[in-house]
Subunit: 593 residues, 2 copies
């Protein structure tokens, strides 16, 4: 049975040594002293490793069960959800006005990684609620906020997002769910939605569905889509529960993974719904949820890779197999542990250098969200908007690959469900798909985000890399060689790709889109390269200042050197592919595939 040990020490390193959060001028950050953040992380760590992680395999094995319209979650989920609520975790970064603790996103993200790593399927119940509450917070009327938010912030009620229909996912303009205005200002919602995570379950008294639908006689396509609040049980003006609404679960899906989360077909049969935000502006309101959700999904990629990596390390140290090629390392034992073998180490270093880089990337992104929300920093807002598809797409693609590598360390045992490594890959797989499949992320990055605000944000990103290199080069030859030079070279590749798109995408946009996946991946590598350079610098600083924990910082430097030498050079391959253009990609008639 796998275990989970939250990487709190590494989180503290990123928060304090690298991002130096207490020195930032973002409201709320001054309070985030190391002792304070440590207390939060340790507390969350205890809950996730002791309570949620042991339920991960239970959820996978039992799955959810639909009986007479009621979905039963796996054994232990309900009690654990009560513990999570009692600890106030769902409202950690929500406004105090609605019962939250008003913590910055950077803390919410660190804690969120732990929840997802310990039990992704379980954590989705509160994750979806958080997203729905954020949308109501951003677009709801005061009445709507007062009516729904306190119960959602505490997770007494949970929330969902309803976008997909059987015939349309990405292309929501094809949507058929209808909204008919009623005399009292509410709407009758009718239609079917599929793939609704946490759509029905037994852990909350009410479920607040956010549903996209088309108001009768509105504009065609995506411009006629509006967002509605559709409670499972109607809510009276005084907040008490009324009659059951016409929102019911039709069935639950059998999926490859995240069995502990109920993925529902939802039927809306003249259900009462309340417009959230403006008429026909549903997509805008939905994107509030989507952007937050995309960052959260990127975090899932990291989280599954982290827990899978931890278990791979344990197995590689325990399992005896063969001898080190350079001579026995454990001569007293019948064989050496797996970890002596170079190819096992290669795999573990791939994993370690990814998860630590990804963690820094996610937390850096969270500081930008805080800067945007708390300080109104438009540049930070623009940059994190640019990076959102990279965080989602790159971290889930690579995070999945890393769970596969971790599983591989177990050999045959990795394929047996009892050992739990298969679940990490099966659970991680969904993150590449939901909240916009990764192909859509790449399209969003290349087709929209690159050119946003006249390309200002991507230029700012390059400037950031450039100034980091300039400020830190020439002081330490080893650092230059191991960190600065590889980062410069990768960033140059990324710029060359952007240049290729500019020069060729104008005449034929396929030249840009055929390279979108490669561009997303090379962008991800450059981001992780930047993170590793910053972490390397922080480690050097700590070592230079004298530290009682030199091993930690030296390990950090060694891991960074691995990433720079073995992973970051992938940018050159991506560039080659991009520069080969669209011709070979688009050459075939559809009939000839």
């Amino acid at each position: 049975m796998p275990t989970y040990t939250p990487p709190t020490k590494d989180m503290q390193f990123v928060l304090h040594d690298v991002l130096k959060i207490t020195e930032a001028t973002i409201p709320g950050y001054a309070d985030l002293e190391p002792d304070f953040t440590s207390a939060i992380l340790e507390e969350a760590g205890k809950l996730t490793s002791d309570v949620l992680a042991p339920l991960n395999a239970v959820g996978d094995k039992e799955g959810c069960r639909l009986e007479n319209g009621v979905v039963y979650t796996p054994t232990g989920f309900k009690a654990a959800f009560e513990q999570v609520k009692a600890g106030g975790w769902p409202g950690l970064d929500m406004p105090e006005q609605y019962g939250g603790q008003n913590m910055p996103a950077v803390i919410g993200s660190a804690v969120g990684e732990m929840f997802s790593a310990a039990n992704q399927a379980f954590t989705m119940y509160q994750g979806l609620t958080h997203g729905a509450a954020s949308a109501i917070l951003a677009h709801g009327t005061d009445e709507q906020k007062d009516l729904f938010l306190p119960k959602m912030v505490s997770c007494e009620w949970t929330g969902t997002m309803n976008l997909t229909e059987p015939h349309c996912g990405t292309d929501l303009g094809l949507m058929r769910t209808k909204a008919v205005p009623k005399a009292d200002g509410s709407y009758k919602i009718t239609g079917q939605k599929i793939f609704i995570s946490s759509g029905e379950h037994d852990m909350a008294d009410n479920i607040i569905h956010l549903v996209l639908a088309k108001i009768e006689d509105g504009p065609e396509g995506i411009k006629g889509v509006s967002l509605f609040i559709v409670p499972k049980v109607n809510v009276n003006a005084d907040g008490t529960l009324g009659a059951r609404n016409g929102a019911t679960v039709g069935s639950i899906e059998e999926k490859m993974g995240i069995h502990g989360n109920s993925t529902c077909v939802m039927n809306y049969d003249e259900a009462t719904g309340y417009l959230l935000g403006e008429e026909h502006k549903g997509m805008r309101a939905m994107f509030t949820m989507m952007n937050e959700a995309r960052l959260g999904v990127g975090m899932q990629g990291l989280a599954q890779a982290q827990v899978a990596y931890e278990n791979a390390v344990i197995y590689a140290n325990d399992r005896l197999q063969g001898r080190a090629v350079t001579g026995a390392q454990a001569p007293d034992k019948p064989a050496d542990p797996l970890i002596v073998h170079p190819d096992i180490r290669r795999s573990l270093m791939d994993q370690k250098s990814f998860v630590e880089g990804a963690r820094a990337f996610i937390l850096w992104g969270a500081t930008m969200i805080d800067a945007a929300h708390r300080s109104g920093d438009k540049d930070a807002d623009g940059l994190v908007s640019l990076l959102t598809p990279v965080i989602k797409g790159f971290l889930t693609d690579v995070g999945y690959d890393m769970t596969v590598k971790a599983q591989q360390v177990y050999g045959g045992h990795g394929y047996i469900e009892e050992w739990g490594m298969s679940q990490f890959t099966r659970d991680a797989r969904i993150a590449m798909i939901y909240e916009g499949a990764n192909g859509v992320q790449a399209l969003d990055l290349v087709g929209r985000k690159l050119a946003q605000d006249g390309g200002k944000h991507v230029m700012a990103f390059f400037e950031l890399v450039k100034s980091f290199c300039k400020d830190n080069a020439g002081q330490d030859a080893a650092f230059d060689k191991d960190f600065i030079e590889p980062l410069k070279s990768a960033s140059k590749d990324l710029q060359a790709a952007g240049m290729y798109f500019m020069q060729n995408g104008m005449t034929n946009p396929n030249h840009a889109l055929a390279g979108s996946n490669d561009f997303l991946h090379m962008f991800g590598h450059v981001c992780l390269g930047l993170m590793w350079a910053r972490m390397g610098k922080a480690a050097n600083t700590a070592l230079a200042n004298g530290t009682s924990d030199a091993t930690f910082y030296e390990t950090k430097l060694a891991t960074g050197r691995y990433y720079m030498a073995r992973q970051l050079p992938a940018t050159a391959l991506h560039l080659t592919r991009i520069q080969s253009g669209a011709d070979t990609v688009m050459a075939l008639d559809a009939a000839n595939f």
Copy 2:
């Protein structure tokens, strides 16, 4: 529900246009006229697509069931197995003397791909039997052959391989299963084996287990391992069945995939066993099975990628989503099909160019096996021995990735079991693990095969690439640019990697082993590059000669150009990683991971 359409036309192209099998001087090849091979392929295609493919999802859903020592296979498996036997398919490439049809391996491989693609779990029952029969054929006494082979060639009895024990897989020197000689020349076998595919089931009257065990008081470690024939039911000298032997199933494993195959814990309790081959030379005998099995597993990587790709193409043509960026392609429909989008095409071209290249690679490998076995060609034997870990490791690693890409084309539906795309990835996953995990393949390649016979075989491979380039360059500028130049460049990368190993591996073998995975992958790319260059040439020839099917050959050229432009350049990245050496890989103490 997925479908399977056997790629018989593409197989015919490889057999006749590329490999020109009827022109080879290998015994049996002259008979392989296009009409003849077409008849076999069409017949096998019908059986696999109509009978086996529909049972694939059934097997996944139902799995195998153990009740009172009996394993029940999924609904329909038994009847299908009878059909397979009635058609004589299990003995297709086995000697006529034992009831087989004596077809060359190149035909067996083409048919084998279809069986694996249609239903991998089902096909393993006959696949393991084939391997066990081959080992008896190679190492058995005449009595053993006469007693066991006729029933195994027909699959009236099936076979298994018993290597792994709970505490040892790759490192079989740690084995504990004991063999105690009896007065009559047989042995009492006692011990536990795990991960035994097809170990127990209800489709055959007897199961012939080949079991590795240590004869009491023999040499320590791997040098004391012998191979034994242990029938489930004892076989009398006249071939009739006797009493039940002490070989019983302890339990069946719950696995990530291949649910239709029973993966058993086997208990041997003083079971009667007969020495196969020489005492303490069990590993040598087992390797007869293993090498064949490794090629078969490489084929599984191709097979799952093929069937997943086919279904991805169907979905990409059916599913309407968004509009082509260059203007609507299906203006009469509410949206364009997925296949108009460049990133979907990139994914499909990755898949198509891989499966077609891999098919040529496998069939080329099979011609070398035929040359070795039928013509005693030692060079062919040496080359296919070198390429075996590449076929196994590269085709299963990349084959798996391709099933993941195919699944991704389905978006959310790819994650729902009902659509069947998840099964392809879950089934394909095992091929990276069994018959020697891919890390072991890389070790075999770099640590053993490269230097075999003084490096003669790898030099022969480079020579082969070089002479192809020399013979075909300078006739057609487009062919030079699209095929010859990329192949030359990739081959140069591979040679540079070999050179790095030679120069640095002597002083520190970790410098070679830290790059073993990258070397295996770059070798695989060069092999597929060579295959594509040969296929490109064959297509050009067909077009120049005038063909009624120009579209087929033009599509082949376009697909080849894609591989050469977008996939083959990966060799440069692998070389960079290899040349970065072992230092970053080996830097950490085991405790610091």
